[in-house]
């Protein structure tokens, strides 16, 4: 192959892409769609359910304050601390529940694997930025809120190429 011919062929292969649809995700306007409602644990099979490992959700009615999530996080991120809550639950005599510092959390989800009472799951919420460090610390009350998210875009592949839409 001659040098000029090779360069023309290379340019031509790039120029063809002017007619192809854009693949880039337009992030703040479009948001990726994920499978399921986040990473959860299936008590029947003993393995997780596929989903995005985003911000946690804590079911207060299941949490017994056993601290196993906090123990699991030791040596990984040490993001989980147990705090007192002003709630009375039959199963939680000590009235302590996890509080998660998202400045430290690495979103490995090993705390979800560790929870024997299926009280701690993860959600599809990943937009956690804040202006202060203290706002990154989520109290048990904040963790109980189910996030409202609209995620609708996924990768579509057809004859004209792949696109987000």
């Amino acid at each position: 192959m001659s040098t000029a011919g090779g360069i023309i062929r290379a340019l031509n292969s790039g120029v063809k892409h002017l007619a192809i649809r854009r693949f880039t995700l337009r992030y703040p306007e479009q948001k990726l769609k994920f499978v399921g409602d986040g990473f959860q644990f299936n008590p029947e099979t003993g393995v997780g359910i596929a989903g995005l490992r985003g911000r946690h959700i804590l079911y207060h009615e299941h949490c017994t304050g056993c601290q196993l999530c906090s123990v699991a996080c030791e040596g990984i991120a040490e993001a989980i601390g147990m705090v007192k809550v002003n709630e009375t639950w039959k199963q939680n005599k000590k009235a302590i529940m996890p509080q998660i510092d998202y400045g430290k959390c690495v979103f490995c989800g090993l705390c979800v694997d560790a929870c024997p009472f299926y009280a701690l799951y993860m959600t599809n919420d990943y937009e956690l930025s804040s202006f202060t460090k203290s706002a990154l610390i989520y109290t048990p009350a904040q963790l109980a809120i189910k996030p409202k998210i609209s995620q609708d875009v996924e990768i579509k592949v057809d004859d004209r190429g792949a696109t987000h839409g």
Partner: protein, 377 residues
Amino acid sequence: MSTQLPPGIQLEKIDDRIMTLNVGPQHPGSGHMRLIIKVDGDYIVSCDPDPGYVHRGEEKMAEYRNYIQNIPHLERPVIHDSSNILYPYCLAVEELLGIEVPERAKYVRVIAAELNRCIYTLYWLAIYGIFLGHSTMFMWPAGDRELFIDLLEAMSGARVTHAYLVPGGVRNDLPANFEERCLRQVDYFEKRLKEYLAVFYKNPLLISRTEGTGILSKTDAIRLGTTGSVLRASGVDFDIRKKEPYDVYENLDFETVVMKEGDSYARSYVPYLEMFESCRIIRDALRKMPKSGSVRTKLKPNPKGGNDEVYKRVESGRGALGYYIVSNNRPEPYRVKISVGSFRNLICMPYLLKGELLGNMPSVYWSLNYWPVEADR
């Protein structure tokens, strides 16, 4: 020259013709490492790689954490090849603790490892492109990498550090319709991959810059102990997936890519051809995988390994990656040694760069499939 400087910083002056150049340790062009290069005009007289700027003590950290807690930090050295760096760890711990892995989990692991190998190779190829001033080759692989990141995100729930493989299997089963989605994206990716040929690999500008530079002969490649694509580009048919098959690789249909030339071009072409083989493995594994069944053998809390030692290695994106683990009846390992491909390929650099033009340094350096953070561990 001042004599007060520490040995690594001091610039030796040999004679008036030879000048010492520090490439790095700032990021552009070198990664987090320094190359001390002595040049005579435009020609490199000697090259002394100086790694260690991103040493994090992964091996020591592993001695203070139990076998499960070790997972998130052990994948940090190569975050875009995180399944492959965890793979030998899981194999080693399974042998140490005597765990049987379910059949389906073995296939899921292979799929995760091959998807991750493609992510790594595309990232490496993107940087190789921008190293040589080819910005299209930076944009295309960086964009196509999204296809695989999307698949692994659906599998594991994280885009980069997946923490998906665990001793005993994988963290969770595949999502619904994964097979269909995976096949569609892998098919599309193979079509895209063929477009790279005209724009990059058959581009005369790339060929003129890489062909015949940094030639590593077959005997030198074996003598220096290189591994992975560097070894295969020098004509040695060695792939751990074929020679010492782990999990289900012996049941899968793929071939080892070998090239004879041993120059920068061959070293950059072998990983590209291996991506086709990875796609083939993914397709074959999806077909042969048991359609249902368990994917994880549950461990006891804080499992203890006996008085034992074990070594396991796999083929990662950069070559052989092995873990040597010693345990002494405690929940934490006594010693963890990680043997990485990047560090073993680094040793060729003084040999390959001697007598080369300084302008050929980036193409030779990055063709070694070197990842500084992994080499420093």
